[in-house]
Amino acid sequence: LRLAIEELPAEFREVIVLKDLQGLSYRQIADIVQVPIGTVMSRLSRGRRRLTERLCAPKGAV
């Protein structure tokens, strides 16, 4: 899982780390990353989709 997170493009990894590891709200993440809340929402959604896909069909060892 750690490897999968590290392999994510930076824009997705950033919001996922802030949300799921640091426990920040969408508003707080939007303020830090300086993007609209809608962008936080879509990056989280796309990033997590990539993570679940990556974890369900691993290429190499995870």
């Binding site: 899982l1 750690r2 490897l3 997170i5 590290e6 930076a10 824009e11 990894r13 950033e14 996922i16 780390v17 802030l18 949300k19 799921d20 590891l21 640091q22 920040l24 709200s25 969408y26 508003r27 707080q28 303020d31 830090i32 990353v33 300086q34 929402m41 879509s42 989280l44 959604s45 997590r48 989709r49 993570l51 679940t52 974890l55 369900c56």
Partner: protein
């Protein structure tokens, strides 16, 4: 709502970040759609797996406080419990308006009077980019940390500090001597795939201080003072990575405030 709409919102639904109307509509769909329910289930599993303690980066307490203070400042509002959603809209709007005014004010103030730290950050970022695109990342290439530290020490009038092992996922590429903020500085360079992290350090009389971390031009920048040195991290991999590198250094006693 159809499946596509729900899949777009399901992540925010799992985070409790949907407004009441969207939440009710999503729940109605989830009750009837086994596929979307399964998607929600795997999302919930992913979220709980992320709570695994071994995954979390050990951000120093002081750094965490600093981040919290930055957030409060950026949002320009006291902490509001947003769980009961009704009745807070007026305050939320006011807070957003206040935040905007503050952000514009702070942005223009900073633009006109950049702080010493901002000047150094801009210089560190420019240096990071120059080294990367000018293909002069290191003047001593080695993955052996003691050898790199010895090389740098011989060229500088101070002893650079660094953890013996690289941050998770990173490999030490080597080191270089550079100039930053009028000082000769030691730079340790790590790579994770094609993503580069530069760690700058130089002796400093500044009192130990907790770190700051933020994004600048798509790069993660972290800085702190400790062990008689000032440290700056610039990372291609964004804020999370800069934060993780800073946390490792501090945890290993390299610049512990």
């Amino acid at each position: 709502m159809n499946c596509n709409q729900v899949r777009e919102l399901i992540s925010a639904y799992a985070d409790g970040e949907l407004d009441a109307e969207q939440r009710v509509a999503a729940e109605a769909h989830l009750r009837d759609c086994a596929q979307c329910s399964r998607a929600l289930e795997s999302l919930t599993m992913l979220k709980s797996a992320m709570q695994d303690a071994t995954l979390s980066y050990n951000v120093p307490g002081a750094l965490q406080k600093k981040i919290a203070a930055l957030i409060d400042k950026a949002a320009g509002m006291p902490k509001v419990d947003t769980s009961p959603r009704r009745g807070i809209w007026k305050y939320a709007l006011l807070a957003v308006a206040a935040g905007l005014v503050l952000a514009v004010g702070v942005a223009s103030y900073r633009f006109i009077f950049p702080s010493e730290q901002q000047k150094i950050e801009a210089e560190a970022v420019a240096d990071h980019e120059q080294a990367e695109y000018g293909h002069r990342l290191v003047d001593f290439a080695s993955a052996d940390m003691p050898a790199v530290l010895n090389h740098l020490k011989a060229k500088l009038n101070f002893e650079p500090l660094a953890p013996l092992h690289a941050p998770t996922g990173y490999t030490l590429i080597g080191g270089r001597v550079d100039r930053l903020a009028g000082h000769a500085v030691a730079v340790l360079v790590y790579k994770n795939g094609s993503q580069v992290s530069n760690i700058f350090q130089w002796p400093s009389a500044s009192p130990p201080s907790p770190g700051t971390v933020h994004a600048l031009k798509n790069l993660g920048v972290a800085s702190w003072n400790g062990s008689g040195r000032t440290f700056y991290v610039v990372s291609d991999a964004g804020m999370g990575a800069a934060n993780a590198v800073a946390a490792l250094y501090v945890a290993e006693g390299c610049g512990t405030p």
